[in-house]
């Protein structure tokens, strides 16, 4: 069995205008040590999916297994990096990270927890800002703290929910590199599932890219593997034939879904949908 195994997960929400089916029979399996990106349009239910994977939401039907265990509550070996950083504003960067360390290693004395938190903050380049509050940090620095917080718990599985989407292009590129480096520095390869709407990001980081159909009733299509040798650079990915082909394949998948989804096709013309994918690449 794969490390993360999702079978037939569906989820709908009650709203005033009726039932909204967000996810419909989602299947996913991720092997240990893999980096998998789920790529899809904004509003297709990606966050709902990652919340279910992380155990924050219960699916209506279907099962999620992480390391063979059924995820019916928060998995003890998983960490999540949220889109909006989600740091606690009343604590310093250090205390935000230490809180995660304390939860993961409750038996450690406080000194050891602090040292561990400091080590990870230094790893993301925030050794000098440990005592600043989130409000005194820039967006990029906040997300660094959030990443340090996730890695400091030394999780077996890492869930990233559009971790860089709120950042400007330069900061984003920096942090992507940082993430690649962190994954290797940590020693063992952390199994990572990342949600993103940015294809370049997915190409740069992943072993596999899984396109997600547009909601409602979103589902995952077959994974597309990315056999490009590491380390990868954004420049290389623009010219590498393999990368170009994979990019084309993913875009084709995503636009195909629009063609085949009648309810959406009328609401939003095809070029619009395609354009949004293209824009995100630029």
């Amino acid at each position: 069995m794969a490390l993360v195994e999702v079978r037939d997960v569906s989820k709908s929400f009650q709203s005033r205008s009726g039932v909204r089916e967000v996810l419909k029979s989602v299947n996913l399996s991720v092997e240990e040590g893999e980096f998998v990106s789920i790529v899809g349009f904004t509003g297709s239910g990606k966050t709902t999916l990652i919340n279910i994977l992380a155990g924050l939401l219960k699916p209506d039907s279907g099962t999620v297994h992480v390391a063979g265990k059924n995820v019916d509550r928060i998995h003890s070996d998983a960490a999540v990096v949220f889109q909006n950083y989600s740091l606690l504003p009343w604590f310093s960067a250090m205390e935000n990270v230490r809180l995660a360390v304390g939860a993961a290693f409750p038996d450690w004395p406080r000194d050891k927890q602090l040292a561990h938190a400091k080590k990870y903050l230094e790893m993301v380049g925030l050794g000098g800002a440990t005592h600043r509050r989130p409000s005194q940090l820039s967006g990029g620095m906040r997300q660094r703290v959030a990443i340090a917080r996730a890695f400091a718990a030394e999780p077996a599985v890492l869930f990233l929910d559009e971790p860089f989407s709120a950042l400007d292009a330069l900061t984003r590129a920096n942090l992507q590199e940082e993430l690649v480096r962190l994954c290797s520095v940590v020693g063992r390869r952390v199994t990572t599932i990342m949600i993103t709407n940015n294809l370049d990001e997915a190409l740069l980081l992943s072993d596999q890219i899984i396109p997600m159909t547009r909601g409602p009733r979103a589902t995952l299509s077959a994974p597309i593997s990315v056999p490009i040798p590491r380390p990868r650079t954004p420049d290389q990915l623009l010219h590498d034939h393999g990368a170009v082909r994979i990019r084309a394949k993913v875009v084709e998948f995503l636009t195909d879904f629009i063609h085949t989804s009648p309810s959406r096709a009328s609401a939003r013309p095809v070029p619009g949908g395609q354009l949004s994918v293209m824009e995100e690449q630029a």
Partner: protein, 255 residues
């Protein structure tokens, strides 16, 4: 510079105008003491603020101190009851559905209505006064704490769940810090109400304090002292509110 002079001068002009109006009215109403007469008759109480001449016949600072002490006790009691009540109303839907209607009904009841009930239950004036102050002043704390808890963003709850914080940790590390600014707004409003209630409760129970003194002097036909008490109550209330506003501001800055 100009605006600084204006900010000192204008309030003085305002006070002057009000005194003038007061003096004008006092010439028409025979029983209303003029500002000058009020000062002459109250001089003793203001210039010897800590003098104790009898049970009620005391310096104004001493009387204000008794009232403040009573308010402090009642207010503390009120927020000790009100804060957890607010947390429970904010956290539990069941609890909210069960008790919110009662809260809404009890909220508008005047201190004058509670006090006799307090006297019946406690038989003594002091606990009855505290009971009345606590019961009247706790509502802003309850309501504000409740809405503070309810407006905690989902992301903080998610963080607490993802980090697998214990219930106690979630309470101390997430719930309380996130609600603190709301709680303090509630405390500030509660203190204001507690100070409002003090006069009524002292008048009815006849305990020494600004309100008790006010009522006694009314009965002794020394009307100048009524005005002295009114001014004292206003000034003390103003200072209390400024003080709480200052603490509130500090709290908001640190968050």
């Amino acid at each position: 510079m100009n605006s600084r002079i204006a900010s000192i001068l204008l309030p003085i002009c305002g006070i002057g105008l009000v005194l003038l109006f007061w003096a004008g009215v006092s010439t028409q109403v025979p029983d209303l003491p003029s500002p000058l007469k009020t000062w002459q008759e109250s001089k003793l109480y203001i210039l010897e603020p800590l003098e104790k001449r009898g049970e009620m016949d005391q310096g104004i600072a001493l009387l204000a101190y008794y009232s403040l002490l009573r308010v402090a006790k009642g207010f503390t009691l009120g927020i000790i009851i009100g804060t957890p009540l607010g947390f429970m109303l904010g956290l539990s839907k069941t609890f909210h559905k069960m008790f919110d209607p009662i809260v809404q009904v009890l909220r508008p009841i005047s201190p004058l209505a509670w006090l006799p009930l307090g006297l019946v239950v406690f038989q003594k004036s002091e606990p009855a006064a505290l009971f009345t102050i606590a019961l009247c002043c706790m509502w802003p704390t309850v309501i504000n704490t409740m809405s503070g808890v309810r407006s905690i963003p989902q992301e903080y709850w998610n963080v607490s769940r993802v980090l697998r914080l214990s219930r106690f940790q979630t309470f101390t590390k997430v719930l309380v810090p996130a609600t603190l600014p709301y709680m303090f707004t509630g405390y500030r409003l509660s203190l204001g109400i507690a100070w409002l209630v003090i006069v009524a409760s002292e008048m009815l129970t006849g305990t020494p304090g600004v309100g008790g003194f006010l009522w006694q002097e009314y009965n002794s036909l020394i009307y100048a002292h009524i005005l002295l008490c009114i001014l004292t109550i206003g000034i003390v209330g103003f200072c209390l509110d400024r003080m709480m506003a200052f603490v509130e501001l500090k709290l908001q800055r640190s968050n």
